[in-house]
Subunit: 142 residues, 2 copies
Amino acid sequence: MKPLFEDLKQELKMKNISLSHQRLKVLEYLTQNQCHPTVDQIYTNLHKDIPTLSKTTVYNTLRVLVEAGLIRVITIEDHEARYDIDVENHGHFKCETCGTIYDFCIDIDRLSPGDLHNFQINDKNVYFKGICPRCLANIKEN
Amino acid sequence: MKPLFEDLKQELKMKNISLSHQRLKVLEYLTQNQCHPTVDQIYTNLHKDIPTLSKTTVYNTLRVLVEAGLIRVITIEDHEARYDIDVENHGHFKCETCGTIYDFCIDIDRLSPGDLHNFQINDKNVYFKGICPRCLANIKEN
DNA sequence: GTTCCTGCAAAAGCTTTGCAGAAGA
DNA sequence: TCTTCTGCAAAGCTTTTGCAGGAAC
């Protein structure tokens, strides 16, 4: 489900997180670009609109949003964190050729392994890696 | 299943990967310490036995072993890769308090989402985060 | 002798921290 | 005014790269 920008703003207000211009822009970018961007992608794009924006602020804002539970970090490769505004359960597929991350439906909650009794589970993640149809088609052509 | 050190050596020979002293030691460490160690843990421990060992060699060796398919990288947090000698499908649980990674049984292959038609899947990963029973007990005590 | 491996040093890349100034309540 | 946020610069970490010496065959 795509969270509405307005709902998210409301949620931030409720949690007493001030809605600075930079924070709103980061949040807006995430709602409008649900492509699991990296910090650098967010920074580079927003920098066009806000020339004074610093990467530090992007990092700060993302940390605040993660702690507030509005977004989540996706860790598929080390060395590049990606951010996802959809906190509902779903899986991620990363194409090893083009790097694109696709969402897919999966009922992670139905995964309840028998040997995790007495573990407090806070977060469930499923990710696959491989090659996406577009890249497969390119490979076949050449 | 725990792969036998001797079987792994045989596999390396078959793949024409030379069995240098350092490489064998890294492989041996991984078979004897199935605790998903970080590069630093591997390096620090082996360095006691091989004082000349360099971290570069550990990195090089791990890369060779991953490419040969003998071990796999586990990426749960960015900024720390961990290495697992068990390439069979299972999930990982990382305790957010003590950092320990636990294996758990899960039939990842049965996860076959309907919306990944035409995707070539090379790798499937499941990881949970939360608090392990030991840390939960500690928290309750205090 | 040729090839591959090791390991030091340096570089690269992402993220965090310190801190001064600015913005907002 | 007081608190919080921003953003520059520097530092911190993990990982990679360049390269010279060494080992193995």
